[in-house]
Amino acid sequence: MIRVIKNIVDYRELIAVLAWKNVTVRYKQAYLGIGWAILKPLTLMLVFTLLRSFVGIPSGNVPYPILAFAALMPWIFFQESASEGVQSVVGNAALIRKIYFPREVFPLTSMMTKLVELCINALILAGLMAWYGMTSSVYIAWAPLIIVYTMLVSLSIAFAGAAINVYYRDVGAALPMLLSLLMYASPVIYPLDLVQSKLLVQQAAGEWSNVLYILYTLNPLAGIIDSFQNVVLRGLPPNFSALLPGAIMVAIGLPLSYLFFKRAESHFADVI
């Protein structure tokens, strides 16, 4: 673990430059430029809002569009860091065959690129909140920590996925699909309160309800999204009980994923 952090420190300039390159190149010859980064969450937010007008999703005392946008921010950040992280090693095949540096730079760079977009979306969220006349409480200080935790979650997938993707491109192809399925199993369209009230309060699934709820929160994004909404919109502390099962998963998964990546790393140049 110490070596990971040392590598990140040693190669921080490279990661920064590569991330800057990704951002620049992506929007260089586009009229909307960086505007594309906000288009995806905004569009989804509008779609969800439209959807809600048919099915009726409770949103508490927070306007639904903002609630959805605050859910989409960490979700899209996670989804894209993970799927682009998985593609990052294969996508940089030319560099891998020619130049040496620790290969974890690539997944980390993909994540940093997405962090830039996340920051832009944060501005949009701030704008939306101002529009609806909402203010944040002191609990917003938790937000950066929640984002850092989201990074660890995406890296758990990105490291192992990127390494396997070098050998079997199936992973890179399957992951976006799996992740879009995971979105429905995460409180993005609907708030976590809804799941809680269905399973814990109404015991909708009978004796399995509590187990199901634990299973649901094993998905780290469940806790992340709800906590993010809590600290930014609801003026509440993070939802630690929902975060815990996922955090245990990550605490086990991330080191394994990283070790797997480092073991596979030395053969990347031969196989890629």
Partner: protein, 418 residues
């Protein structure tokens, strides 16, 4: 203490396609059930390579295509790891494996300098300091803010080389990059390399097909062949050995190649033989020694007014000599014939040459014409001569006079006296 240690390094690759996920799963199942699995054959790109490089040494690595040179450099640059054995590099390394790897077309020259130099491991402060020098060396001052997708190939390569060689590393690994840009820029690259080697005392590993370059820049050379080090020593010796081997290989290939023959059917080609001064048929002739070329054929009808022409050409069809009998046409009877061209001294420099023959009437009617009918190698016992093929083809009988000015003065005084 050596800065680079390569200890019994072997690198194996599996031949053929990498298995699909399905095949891997099937194989795993088969293995579990105790069934044999078809393994892909291993291929040894490097086989027990073992050498050390001392600080300040300039090591040239030569060998034919596929000898394992680039694989070796990849191990040294940490891009790839050996299957067995170990590689120890005790210093910072700048690897110029392919200049321009990682240049991004959409970014401007300026942005690419920062990006590429960072990828190569330079710090931002260092890049800023060297920026002007890098741009000046690449001669791109006017274009530095243009996206490099608008650059010519030469400009891109110049930028790549300039960035790569501006790194301050104690060990420089160079793979065939000196052949970039136009002649003037090549010269500049060469000078820069030479400067790094001779004045800055860097340890350099240079892979090149250009034997003369290796000889000039290096203090030691290694010849790789099919992943094995077959010669290690003074660059001149190793290069000579390599050139001679290459000639033998060219000749071997030439023999497999089919001769190009056109015939009117009146003559059936027998053979072209190269005969040395002892009268025995051979495929190698010593430089400046006598030889004969014998042409045997069978005439299927009597032929009137026939002339012969025997010439030599290089393996890439540059015609070198032509001897004919245009002024002495002969009548040929039906049956076996044999003509010989006697060469008093083989004046072609060491290398591989081919024989062509033509039989026909002086007016131009071709009865038989064949190129690459046979090939032979000219060799010399003196390696100074062996290597002259880089600079020419023929040896011209000549004499040096190293005191020409004095002799001329003597002649002048003699004529004045007279």
């Amino acid at each position: 203490m050596p800065v680079i240690e390569v200890n019994h390094v072997t690198k194996e690759y599996r031949l053929g396609q990498f298995h699909s996920l399905k095949q891997s799963v099937l194989d795993a199942v088969a293995r579990l059930r105790g069934h044999p699995v078809q393994e892909r054959a291993p291929f040894k790109a490097l086989d027990d390579v073992d050498f050390k490089v001392e600080e300040g040494e300039v090591l040239g690595i030569i060998g034919q295509n596929g000898a394992g040179k680039s694989t070796l450099l990849k191990m040294l640059a940490r891009i790839s790891v050996p299957t067995s054995g170990s590689v120890n590099v005790r210093s910072s390394v700048a690897a110029l494996i392919e200049v321009g790897a990682g240049l991004v077309p959409d970014l401007s020259g300026r942005e690419n300098v920062f990006l590429n130099a960072s990828i190569l491991g330079m710090r931002r402060a260092e890049i800023k300091k060297k920026f002007d020098e890098i741009v000046a060396f690449a001669e791109l001052e006017d274009f530095i803010d243009t996206p490099i997708k608008r650059y010519s190939t030469g400009m891109q390569v110049r930028l790549g080389f300039s960035i790569a060689t501006s790194m301050d590393a104690a060990i420089l690994i160079v793979d065939e990059v000196l052949a970039v840009g136009d002649l003037a820029f090549q010269r500049k690259c060469f000078d820069r390399m030479e400067d790094m080697i001779k004045r800055q005392g860097k340890t350099v590993l240079l892979v090149s097909h250009n034997v003369r370059q290796v000889e000039r820049l290096c203090t030691r050379a290694i010849l790789l062949d099919h992943g094995v080090v077959i010669n290690d020593g003074h660059p001149t010796d190793v290069c000579n050995f390599f050139v001679d081997r290459s000639n033998q290989k060219i000749q071997a290939n030439q023999r497999i190649n089919q001769a190009k023959v056109t015939t009117s059917g009146e003559i059936e080609f027998g053979a072209i033989e190269v005969i040395d001064e002892n009268g025995s048929s051979t495929d190698s002739i010593e430089f400046l020694r006598p030889m004969r070329i014998r042409l045997t054929f069978k005439a299927s009808t009597p032929l009137q007014q026939m002339t012969f022409y025997i010439g030599l050409h290089t393996t890439d069809f540059i015609y070198l000599t032509a001897h004919n009998t245009a002024y002495e046409p002969v009548n040929l009877e039906m049956g076996q014939h044999c003509v010989e061209l006697e060469i008093r001294a083989m004046a072609l420099l060491p290398g591989v040459y081919c024989v062509l023959a033509w039989i026909g009437q002086p007016a131009g009617r071709t009865v038989f014409h064949g190129e690459s009918l046979s090939s032979f190698r000219v060799f010399a016992r003196d390696y100074v001569v062996t290597r002259q093929r880089d600079r020419g083809i023929f040896h011209m009988d000549a004499k040096w006079n190293l005191n020409a000015d004095r002799e001329e003065a003597k002649l002048l005084t003699a004529s004045q006296k007279g």
